[in-house]
Symmetry: C2
Subunit: 179 residues, 2 copies
Amino acid sequence: MPARESRTGYAVLGALTLEPMSGYRLRAVLEQSVGHFWRESYGQLYPTLRRLEADGLVATEGRGRARVHRLTEAGWDELRAWLARPVTGHEPTRDELLLKVFLGRHAGPGVTAAHVAARRRVLDDLLTSFERTEAEVAADPSPDAPYWRLTVRHGIAMTRALRDWCDEALPTLEQLEDR
Amino acid sequence: MPARESRTGYAVLGALTLEPMSGYRLRAVLEQSVGHFWRESYGQLYPTLRRLEADGLVATEGRGRARVHRLTEAGWDELRAWLARPVTGHEPTRDELLLKVFLGRHAGPGVTAAHVAARRRVLDDLLTSFERTEAEVAADPSPDAPYWRLTVRHGIAMTRALRDWCDEALPTLEQLEDR
DNA sequence: TTTGCCATGTAATTCGTTACATGATTAG
DNA sequence: CTAATCATGTAACGAATTACATGGCAAA
């Protein structure tokens, strides 16, 4: 049994607070807005939409290109109830890079450092991307924008910390291999 | 199809580099050493051990309380080959707290701040625990210890960054609700 | 002798991705 | 007309957790 009830359902309900939209659009919106800490695939999305509709939390209107899903009153209630519930779990995410660092002594010379360097390389780009996003959100007059901004700042903080860790770890690794 | 080949198998092989041990002990060792970024349950562990043995990567010796699993030469080779392969994926972990923050405007007053405060509360304890661990690892003469230490420092860096983010987010949230 | 830890495992269930398959609509 | 995008979905697969079930051994 999974520790978590269907979180995908709540991500969907959450995205539909923005406006009614198609499943396809939903995926794109999720990717652009919460993509840096939450990702959904079609294989999850469509079955979830049907389940939500069966439960009366989402209603589907129109057909063809004009087909959209929207939150029902029950959907809003369910979402608000979920928002009020304590955050469950705090599960450590499995980090493959860290596992390889942990076992680094058994790797060939330079191998682990290369992994860290590879990770390091993407972080600056990620950071500028976050910073551009923050500027956009800061200029967004939507009443949601301040909340969105907090999540972006979270991304910035974590990315910076990770970058600094890489910069600290790389010399250490090189030094370890001098022997 | 999962993006990742069985990472559990490599975690098991990795833990067995320390010494031959039972599945039960394996679980405990994993929890204590890499538990902050990697967690395995018995439901994964035992089937994985059998699979590894069937593949000739692990050999099982003794029986009863004296039963232990150890790495074979093939197991060492497989582990080293995996260590050398680039880290796959960089998947953003689904963060339920962030999703609730993102949707914070739709929550009742104080609700989102309470979630952040709850998270904040555990971080100091976590941090002191990490710092104690770091001191232990720093004093550990094992040739593995410097690598272990890097992963602990990663935990410290991330925890501090998260704590600082909470401290920044809380006043913002309170201010948002003044309206 | 009974409590607790060591030890191994299974069953049910959910989560989630990837690859595949199909078709409508729209812009060039 | 044709390529790209919008749109919906299914099938196969594997990862992973939780709860359950069982038993030996050792110490108090």
